[in-house]
């Protein structure tokens, strides 16, 4: 086998890096679970007709075909493709299992998704997502739009002690934008939203020109839309500044009330994390209420690491409609930056806290017995690969970051001993009683880059 090169867009981790990624997923899983969200997994594939229903993303779908297919290889609606997010599978899962689920259905899902797009930093062809959603049957109260962002904020905040920079979650509400646009007489609301979404790319002048030339807004309507997009801040600030623009519309009122309630509740529970930002327009053409975007402070170039929003109709089965709200954390994007920027590291690359040395191959059973004694009490232990000189066995532990080397009783010593290879301290110990310090028991994830 020639040495293979990594496949661009398909990130993989070395064992120590994987500990960091696993720590991130375990932390968000725990926070999701503490909030009562049930973990599910869906299959990796969906029929093509479901994948392309969302429109825009369809060009990025990976389709499957069998290497030796029985029939001619044609693409039709029943062709299977890999899911490109976890929302399309959720919608299908809910409709398929509606009779066996309890609503509102609160679930999290931590799985890979695939997109056949050109890879670049922060954009992958295979990536791990951690999603939470609440799905109602026919109705879904607004308070879940508050809850969902709080759960996501708690999940990300739980990682800041381990080296993750602070996060800033920006929120907007479709009702604010739509109500405001309709209040100034704009008819093509979705076209306006899609154009405002281009502000980062083409700037004020570009957006103004597009709004007037392509979407059909008057000059003053375009100015008003741009004015609205400049507003951000606390709930009270945003409410006051929007009112200052002097536009009145029932939908705008409703949206402003929701936006302020959400930002105020978030400020009380997770201060400094959530702000209103009326520039956020991504997805407002299909979301129907709150929309969320998240940046990592100091790493804004990475783009959003946690996005989502509310759909009034996530799915429907003809009989019932299923509204939903949720957010998706980009775990691969987050992990890749955390690793490349040296924001977190694992204290070692293997689980074992103890390497049990082997004095002589004929005495391996003694080493195995001591290792079993440690494991029976929850202490991860591995046995040395060979009865090499102890210096070599200690180097084996050192290279992996294993803090303790255990020397079993046998022909060379009457009682077992354990050495802390960092301090060199070596003491008599009993495999049925000795315990390492709690900090050494399992690999931990600490802030900053791995020590050289």
């Amino acid at each position: 086998m020639a040495r293979p090169a990594p496949l661009s867009g398909f990130p993989e981790r070395l064992p120590g890096e994987r500990i960091v990624e696993e720590h991130i997923t375990a932390t968000v899983r725990r926070v999701f679970s503490l909030h009562g969200y049930a973990g599910i997994e869906t299959r990796a594939v969906e029929p093509l007709d479901r994948l392309v229903a969302k429109g825009e993303t369809s060009k990025e779908v990976y389709l499957l075909r069998r290497l030796h297919a029985d029939e001619t290889d044609t693409t039709d609606d029943r062709t299977l493709g890999l899911h490109f997010d976890l929302t399309v599978p959720l919608a299908r899962y809910v409709v398929e299992n509606a009779a066996r689920l309890q609503f509102p259905f609160k679930r999290f899902q931590i799985q890979k998704a695939w997109r056949g797009e050109r890879p670049q930093e922060g954009r992958y062809r295979e990536f791990l997502q951690a999603d939470i959603d609440v799905v109602g049957a026919d109705e879904l109260p607004f308070h879940y739009e508050v809850e969902a962002v709080l759960v996501a904020a708690h999940a990300l905040n739980a990682l800041t002690g381990d080296g993750l920079p602070a996060v800033r979650i920006g929120v907007n509400n479709r009702k604010v934008s739509q109500g405001f646009y309709e209040g100034v007489g704009v008819t093509d609301v979705e076209g306006t939203l899609r154009t405002i979404d281009k502000l980062d790319k083409i700037g004020d002048d570009g957006v103004r020109a597009m709004l007037t030339d392509q979407i059909g807004l008057t000059r003053s309507q375009a100015e008003a839309a741009l004015e609205l997009a400049r507003i951000s801040g606390s709930g009270a600030e945003v409410e006051a500044r929007v009112r200052n623009l002097g536009v009145s519309h029932p939908l705008l009122e409703e949206g402003l009330g929701q936006l302020r309630a959400l930002v105020d509740a978030a400020e009380a529970e997770v201060p400094g994390v959530v702000t209103a930002d009326l520039r956020i327009a991504r997805g407002l053409d299909y979301y129907t209420g709150t929309v969320y975007e998240t940046v990592l402070v100091g790493h804004e170039d990475l783009g959003s690491i946690c996005s989502g929003g509310r759909y009034d109709s996530l799915a429907t089965d003809g009989r019932r409609t299923y509204p939903g709200v949720g957010l998706s954390i980009g775990v691969s994007r987050l992990t890749s930056r955390v690793l490349s920027a040296g924001l977190m590291h694992a204290t070692r690359s293997v689980p074992a806290a103890v390497l049990v040395a082997v004095t002589d191959e004929d005495e391996r059973a003694r080493s195995n017995a001591d290792a079993a004694g440690l494991r029976a009490r929850g202490i991860p232990a591995e046995v040395a690969p060979s009865a090499a000189k102890f210096g070599k066995q200690i180097r084996y532990a050192d290279r992996r970051g294993i803090p303790f080397v255990w020397f079993p009783a046998g022909t060379q010593r009457e009682r077992a001993e354990v050495k802390d290879i960092r301090s060199g301290e070596q003491v008599a110990a009993d495999a049925a009683a000795w315990t390492p310090p709690a900090d050494d028991l399992w690999p931990r994830v600490l802030p900053g880059p791995a020590p050289a």
Copy 2:
């Protein structure tokens, strides 16, 4: 959306079922980690040329193509396919990262794999595997063939208290079969092994006829091979019965020594689990030492739930050769049987131990605050969807199996109270101090079917 039907061969779980599957993976992950195996994940795809290198399985590969590919859709070696096991990706990962890994490299990997084959019970198109392997650089001592099966046995044994039936792991050793065959003058060892592997399907007479007519064995050589395949039992029994056949060959001696050492060590550490079974020939044409197969006692019809073996050359990069040994637990196969046979169930379908009731929508903030107080102490809690009558809120908890309903202080009561909805007992409680019984804190997995 019309109600979708499940896709045959792509198993999915309801939330309560997923708790059982997650319990199985968490248990084996913990045992693997306690033994010092590092968890990694590999990408879902490999280039076609690597997937077909293993030969036989190539017909089952799912290939990927982009829905709107830039170029004409041709299949060549660089076409990507979904991995059909976790061994091919491991071999590639080891060679790709050899300079950054420590050898022997002990890793576990719990991931899905895909095969485009016809689905039937116990055979899926998408399935979850839990693999452990040890990979050496240039050498891998025999004792890892013992360790690997002990780790797998401990992992499966750890589940028997939760309702998994006992497992029986059968082992054979390529060196025993090959040494024996060569000792009686057989030249086509691999052909003989592949034929012996058909015993379950075509029986003694069929195998005898194939061995003489197709593989070129004499009548007495075929009888000897069948005689060998009838031997099973403890290490000492098997050694004695093979010696009784009067065949002598250095490779047979080596293999018998290894087989006995392995079975004896296993009997000492996990009594009653591992037996030698010389009928096992699956994979002996590519494995080079020990080979493993596992049945669930009482569910032998399911086939092997944990198989593997030793390869002298798992991979090579031209400079070095990487021998490996490992086993793969079929988690999907195991979980599907555990669920369909009612062998295990989860105590509830959601994580929350407590439903915090809402007295009035205006007082939702009080409910949120009490829920936050519980979660801050690690107690999973969710807040009721609406301020319905308490009877309805209690039914919400009951339908999900949530054992406690919490009534916050507010206009209706001065102090918070908590009700155990199973006993009906309701007591005053403080969200900063009250703790549920440990057994109720998280959903647990218990033996037997879910209560009706």
